[in-house]
Symmetry: C2
Subunit: 372 residues, 2 copies
Amino acid sequence: MAVQKITLFEQEPLDLVFGGRLDHIEVAYQTYGELNADKSNVVLLCHALTGDAEPYSTEPNSTGWWQNFMGKRLAFDTDKYFFICSNVLGGCKGTTGPASINPQTGKPYGGQFPNVIVQDLVRVQKALLDALQISHLHAVVGGSFGGMQATQWAIYYPDFVDNVVNLCSSLTFSAEAIGFNHVMRQAILNDPNFNAGDYYDGEPPAKGLAIARMLGMLTYRTDIQLAKAFGRATKAEGQYWGDWFQVESYLTYQGKKFLDRFDANSYLHLLRALDLYDPAVGFDNIKTALARIKARYTLVAVTNDQLFKINDLRKSKVLLEQSQVNLQYFEFASDYGHDAFLVDYDIFESKIRAGLENANTPPASTMIEFMI
Amino acid sequence: MAVQKITLFEQEPLDLVFGGRLDHIEVAYQTYGELNADKSNVVLLCHALTGDAEPYSTEPNSTGWWQNFMGKRLAFDTDKYFFICSNVLGGCKGTTGPASINPQTGKPYGGQFPNVIVQDLVRVQKALLDALQISHLHAVVGGSFGGMQATQWAIYYPDFVDNVVNLCSSLTFSAEAIGFNHVMRQAILNDPNFNAGDYYDGEPPAKGLAIARMLGMLTYRTDIQLAKAFGRATKAEGQYWGDWFQVESYLTYQGKKFLDRFDANSYLHLLRALDLYDPAVGFDNIKTALARIKARYTLVAVTNDQLFKINDLRKSKVLLEQSQVNLQYFEFASDYGHDAFLVDYDIFESKIRAGLENANTPPASTMIEFMI
């Protein structure tokens, strides 16, 4: 089924937290499973940085980003729940973003697209649910950037959400991670085709975006996984300054593949939204914000995550506990590092189930598995 | 004292391992301490990727890269040893490199500079010692890229070297680390000023080089150190796409500062030499190569090194032991990560002393300290 579209904020514009406003916001979304009679089985899925509205694809030769996690009796059980997923504001997969036509000029927003933060993204998701006449969520689930959205849902709308499941994401982004994002952004900004974001009439900043993506890939995996997959193997006809080693060829391929599916301006905006996410925005401090959460909160940490480091996950755990959030915390190792929440179904299945199943859940607790 | 210069390979050119040859190689070097009567107190210091011939500077308002490690009764004890340090072949701090004038064309080598690997660099260092009439080394010491040179010294010239001290460096570079180097190289190659390496008549690829350096800096430190130094502090007048956070401002500053002291072509060549270092080159396999080592070998690993990961240091330890090398191995944590060998004197002092002091040394052993 093709992605569905809806236009929101037609009567009143959305005033953005950092200033600026947007109206006629188009939102791409998808649903899976059946809504039950009392509408009590709705689960909102929030995608990560470069995801889209379709975690599961029904198209032939196409796979969604949680394809193997979703289906009858799987972690995201389509026999039980009604799932809704939408592309984020500022993205480029059907929801209004920098590549969309600005209704006031008839041209793409480009460099004029306003700055958006996680709080804005969540308010658009809330408007979508209102339009769909969904007045309660059994759960909000997200990994990485999606985990930040899930957290913000429970802060903004504490009575709306019963469960939050946050995978591989700390409450705020670390200095080191901001640093990686900074390098990625500079690679795009310095591309000769960038043109202050107004490149839709010409060549896009493809090389800069590919460099940014290659760096991202390195933070999403681990040294262990890359050593197993590539080691120091070389290519038969490698170029000295290009793809001499197999791992370089892999990164180059990933960088190029990304160009077909993502817009550089969206990448810039969403990277910055990652950096800037702070639950405290609009509240006295982070604990005041977290104390608003009424949902049961499941936090899943990967010890060898190289983007959201385990130190920061543990600090988040402590902050949630100090804010009296009903928390269950899991921690384990995976060679996949940060990407584990997208690929390591065997490890994540039980944690996602524990996060979604209110009935017969174990008491809130800390469970640490050592798997390496 | 100004750096000293000597011209080598005037009669016979140096045939490089990867093909190509160089003659009239100029080498910048510096010495510290006094050569004793029987020339038995010579220690060769090998610099890391962007180092130079002067670990200690006697100039006012200037500090060498091991300034705090060297002096009377310090780890590098100038009362005891005669230290020699030279800038590597391919560098840009006085020794022949891509920015040097090619005697055959009268212009800078630029894109024509031949590919050099660690084995070539070490043969130039050996030629320097021959010219200085040094026929034996008490020790060769190096960190990171310098540790690779130190290892190669003991493989090529097993009777010449009594002690090897290798700090924060594995025997080969990992797939992940090659990946980071790949991203850095692509940032330089994609700079509009790069011009296939022939940019000395115009503007250098400054932005690309700065991006590369910023990424390097992130691998040299740790999330812990950056969190302590910067956290999520913002700048008073930050630019949304520029230096919004303090950590971005720090990286931008480091990137710009690097432009004053380093050449993009040298950076490309030395990064590639890091990737390509393999002790097995010219031998049947790595164990055959390592089995040539007669020197006592000290390997110092930092558990939270983000460039040379601890898994690779431990594999190197095992390989050296399996090759019957007389090994002493230290392992400890430092918030400084990879850069610890340049800044964390308190931790490194005892290990460097243990590596240099043949007399009254403890038996070869594994010593693991947990300091975090």
